[in-house]
Amino acid sequence: MNRRLILMMALALAAPLAPAQDKPAARPGHTEITWDELVPADWDPLKQFKDMNFGVLSDADPRAAAMLKKMREVWDNAPVNNQMDGRAIRIPGYIVPLEEGKNGMTEFLLVPYFGACIHSPPPPANQIIHVKPKSPAKGFKSMDKVWVDGTLRTLRSDTFMGVSSYRMEAVGIERYVEKPAK
């Protein structure tokens, strides 16, 4: 039941980018995936909260705040799906620029929803991809919606966050075009 809840949440996050829209064809060899595939099947972040009944807590209860903080920590330590390592994928997302040179963007983060650095709480660790385009990407800016093609890698080393994260060297970055509403 909880796993389904997680998947639904993740799906809800990826909904703005549901591939029902008109899109350019994927590069050969790159399979299109959705963000929930980056979440390992056996991850259950709500496991520890299974016994709690959220209904009895009011919004202002300090226990609710503490619980939220705990949930956030679990979210931060979300593990990567190691089965995705080395897969050539195509995934839609929003750009958070990291490095930009004269010829274009050389490093950015790809996140599943808009405003991931400003308003909403940041995405869990397994919903962020650190992308390095093979050649600098020109003409993109913060929060642009794009398709990214590339090979996904998971960092297995024990890094700062205690768990792994996703990296990708992107061979293709295209603007995401919305199909006009009929």
Binding site: D76, V96, P97, L98, E99, E100, G101, K102, M105, T106, E107, F108, L109, A116, C117, I118, P121, P122, P123, A125, I128, I129, H130, K141, S142, M143, L155, T159, F160, M161, S165, Y166
Partner: protein, 424 residues
């Protein structure tokens, strides 16, 4: 034999008095369009290259653009300061690899003074992850022995003619008022940085401790009366910085940027803000973009006005040329040759104007470049036109040809109607 373009050229040259005025106004429009595009691009390039390899900029909770402009580009007004122990708390976060605190406020003969640690020279990157390189000397030592050592950016050293060992006195704030100098604590140049093409070139770098030292006997921006602590004695005091303007933060893994940002934003000790440089810059361009569009529209209007002048001038002169047109009809030119002739004349005038505009734009950039560089730290490049600029030039030329078709068509009709017996 005189070819049709040759005829058009001779004809236009014949009326060069009025046509040169038209060409000048087209040149002005071209100058505006080209220069504006060049400045726009160079500003963006410069800003984008000013900081690299930095994941977050941490400062007081003001505005992201304001913080970036002041802390990184040394432009704009002082933001609030943050406590040094807040910076240390950020440094302690498990995802943070390094922090470089920055303290701004003083100046030296119009150039900003930056107080920082030796980590600045190791960690700061610009452009495409390029590190700072010392052309001469070494960074300040960061300890009490080399307290009054200063490292100069390339522009400062060149413009003020400083070398290693030169002595300089810093001024409080922007330093324009007399009595605002820290005259009792002069600094010595111990290092000069290689040029970077960023605001680093315009900056005088000193250690945070030195910045504390020169403000020991000052309070609220003025020296305290009756209290004067000589330079050497300053060492005896506690010179650890309590407040800084901002801090550059580097992370162990870049994907952790959101977490650290949230940590800083929610820090309970003080209202802090963490900014992603790339995102803040994009916000800046969005804001600036509105003004840019207005300027482009204005330049376009100037082009339109000058082309309208071309049309008006040629149309006005058409009546006098009816006999010329009859001569051309008599030697076998058709009305469409007449149309072409006038279109070519217009094209030649537009071309002359455009070429003049290109030269003027180059001259303007060449002359104003060094001034802009020293005032704002922005390098304007003198380069061949880029794709957008070629498009602009082509657009002006195309518009010129289209505009000349108006008198061309009129001349066509006139020559048809007049035949060989013009009524004028």
């Amino acid at each position: 034999m005189t070819s049709l373009p040759g005829l058009a050229a001779a004809s236009a040259w014949n009326r060069r008095g009025t046509l040169s005025l038209v060409a000048l106004s087209i040149a002005l429009a071209t100058l505006l369009l080209l220069s504006f595009e060049r400045v726009r691009l160079d500003v963006r390039d410069n800003f984008a290259s000013a900081v690299s390899g930095t994941d977050l900029v941490v400062g007081a909770r003001t505005g992201p653009i304001q913080l970036m402009l002041y802390a990184v580009f040394r432009l704009g007004g002082a933001t609030n300061s943050i406590r040094m122990d807040s910076v240390r708390a950020v440094e302690q976060h498990r995802a943070v690899a390094w922090v470089v605190p920055l303290s701004l406020g003083d100046s030296h003969r119009g150039f900003p003074v930056l107080g920082t640690t030796t980590a600045y020279f190791e960690r700061f990157r610009y452009g495409e992850q390029q590190p700072l390189v010392l052309a001469q000397g070494s960074p300040f030592s960061g300890d009490l022995d080399g307290l009054y050592g200063a490292v100069l950016g390339a522009e400062v050293a060149q413009r003020l003619g400083y070398q290693l060992g030169s002595s300089l006195v810093l001024a409080h704030g922007s330093g324009t008022l007399p009595g605002s100098e820290h005259a009792d604590k002069p600094f010595t140049v111990v290092g000069i940085l290689a040029p970077t093409g960023t605001p680093v070139d315009r900056t005088v770098h000193i250690s945070l401790q030195a910045l504390e030292a020169i403000h020991l006997d000052w309070s609220a921006g003025v020296p305290m009366k009756g209290l004067s602590i000589p330079a050497e004695q300053a060492r005896k005091f506690d010179l650890e910085p309590k407040q800084v303007t901002a801090a550059l933060v580097g992370l162990k893994g870049r994907a952790a940027v959101f977490n650290v940002q949230r940590f800083v934003n929610e820090y309970e000790g003080e209202p802090l803000m963490a900014v992603l440089p790339g995102v803040a810059l994009d916000e800046l361009w969005t804001v600036v973009g509105v003004g840019e569009k207005v300027l482009v529209a204005l330049s376009g209007l100037v082009a339109l006005v000058s082309l309208a002048g071309l049309v008006a001038t040629v149309l006005a002169g058409l009546n006098e040329r009816r006999r010329e047109l009859a001569v051309l009809r008599a030697v076998g030119a058709g009305p469409r040759h007449v149309l072409w002739l006038l279109a070519l004349e217009g094209l030649l005038v537009t071309l002359a104007g455009v070429m003049l505009g290109v030269l003027a734009s180059a001259a303007l950039i060449g002359l104003a470049g060094p001034l802009v560089q020293s005032a704002y730290g922005i390098a304007l490049t003198l380069a061949a036109p880029n794709a957008t600029q070629w498009l602009l030039l082509a657009g002006v030329l195309a518009a010129g040809v289209l505009a000349s078709l108006v008198p061309g068509v009129r001349a066509y009709r006139l020559s048809l109607a007049d035949g060989l017996a013009p009524r004028s």
